[in-house]
Amino acid sequence: MLRVEDLIVRYGGITAVDGISFHVEQGECVALIGANGAGKSTTLQAISSLLKVASGKISFCGTDITKTPADAIVKMGLVQVPEGRQIFTKLSVIENLRMGAYTNSDQSLEKKNRDWVMELFPILKERARQSAGTLSGGEQQMLAIGRALMSSPKMLLLDEPSMGLSPIMTQSVFDVLKHLKDNGITTLLIEQNAYDALEISDRAYIMETGRITLEGKSADLIKDYRVKDAYLGGSI
């Protein structure tokens, strides 16, 4: 569904992503794991066309999207939940959800999606009229995911959804991701939180300083001593 080939992204003078290739198939949940600064977020931003690609090719559902503008990529059904949530704090919860449905001009579909999102995250229904800035960190993450779902995406790109959240909140975010996966939504999940990410994903890629150093089935990687040493604190 999503195919990235020999992607190179430069950021100022630095080569942040140095020739990586990976793919995500329909219905899969794939994790891209790595420490801070490994180039994970840069990769996502390049896929969403927020950053220019220096070389390489990105395709989605068979179409080359390397040079497609950001808004057109969203229209194709490839939607990102950005790092740090980036909800619109001055808009109400409902208005945030309407922005999520920006590319969708079908009113009844928008309503259906909104009902679904509010069923998925009941807290958003309670807070519908509140300005989004008043939500807690966890609630904001729910809103960020809900907002992305409003466009009926074919595939979600999630950039560190557990960042800055309490362990309980992290757990509920991963529960939601599991639920989405069961609903057949394809996801590419970026995480530093390697254990949870490997638990939920089908396959994973490990990224270090701009390169992919390890890849495989998540169930195998979770037992791999190299992953254990580097990301799982050895003893898990």
Binding site: S48, P69, T103
Partner: protein, 298 residues
């Protein structure tokens, strides 16, 4: 000094304030989205007035139709300016775009001067619009009443657009976080063009009211009122639309009260007074009266 004199001054102030408000909102909308102070905004006003003049005098088009056509023309000019002068340097620093907008402002004034000459041309609205009627102790002309009504209708409509329509919510979303807006599938160019179109169309209305008041038009007509509207937006807190309107009325009333109450030798300094007012407000409220205290957009 009689009550009716003061009331008259207040009314003139409110009238001037509503003209400033329409222009200030144009500044504020564009600033909110692009962090661009578009100094050419006041000159779009002048372009609009000249267009009305040409259509009425040279082509014999009735006033109302001239205004509508001129609005269309000014929207095209506004969009062209955005496309040619601002879009190519959108990612440059705020200073660069600001200087660019000053250049566009100067360019528009010079083009008008080349096409029409620097002379003042009479701009006379039909008398039924401008003759005064007494209502109790205040006197108002039809154009005054129309000014208030137009401003009110426009503010309500804008509020509706910004809170109920997708493009309006997208404008607010862009002014808070452009990157996240792009991730929602919002086309930034579309939103920017929409805000320039609104600003330019409104500038024509403001220009019409202003030229009707001055009974004349000249190439730099819109520049100083444009600057004052900018002051209004700054006093209110630039980027805040409610602030822009409040700032506009504060400036309009303060300016007319100064003009009416200051010694005759001082009244020539009414423009300076407005700018001084802005300096004083900024000394105490650097973000304006209603401005947010937050820093730059992420």
């Amino acid at each position: 000094m009689t009550t009716s004199f003061i009331l008259g001054m207040l009314m003139s102030g409110l009238k001037l304030g509503s003209i400033y408000a329409i222009v200030a909102i144009g500044y504020s909308i564009v600033y909110g989205i692009l962090r661009l102070i578009n100094f050419a905004h006041g000159d779009i006003m002048t372009v609009g007035v000249y267009m009305i003049l040409v259509l009425m005098n040279k082509a014999g088009v009735p006033l109302f139709a001239s205004v509508i056509l001129s609005m269309g023309f000014s929207v095209v000019v506004g969009l062209l300016i955005e496309r040619l002068a601002y879009r190519p340097i959108r990612d440059a620093s705020e200073e660069a775009t600001l200087i660019s907008s000053l250049a566009v402002s100067s360019l528009l004034q010079n083009i008008l001067q080349m096409v029409f000459s620097a002379q003042r041309e009479p701009f006379i609205l039909p008398t039924f619009l401008t003759e005064s009627h007494k209502y109790g102790i205040i006197s108002l002309s039809l154009i005054n009443i129309i000014t208030f009504i137009v401003t009110a209708i426009f503010l309500v409509t804008l509020y509706f657009v910004l809170t109920k329509t997708k493009i309006g919510i997208a404008m607010r979303a862009c002014s808070e976080n452009m990157k996240a807006s792009r991730l929602m599938g919002v086309s930034i160019n579309k939103v920017v063009m929409f805000s320039f179109a609104i600003g330019s169309a409104l500038a024509v209305i403001a220009g019409l009211l202003l030229a009707g008041e001055y009974k004349t038009v000249y190439p730099t007509l819109g520049f100083v009122p444009g600057l004052k509207a900018f002051c209004a937006a700054v006093i209110g807190g630039i980027g805040s639309l409610g602030g822009a309107v409040a700032g506009a009325f504060i400036i309009g009333v303060a300016e007319m009260l100064f003009a009416g109450l200051a010694p005759t030798s001082m009244t020539a300094y009414r423009d300076a007074f407005v700018f001084l007012l802005m300096v004083i407000v900024l000394l105490f409220r650097p973000n304006g009266i209603f401005g947010s205290t937050e820093g730059e957009r992420s």
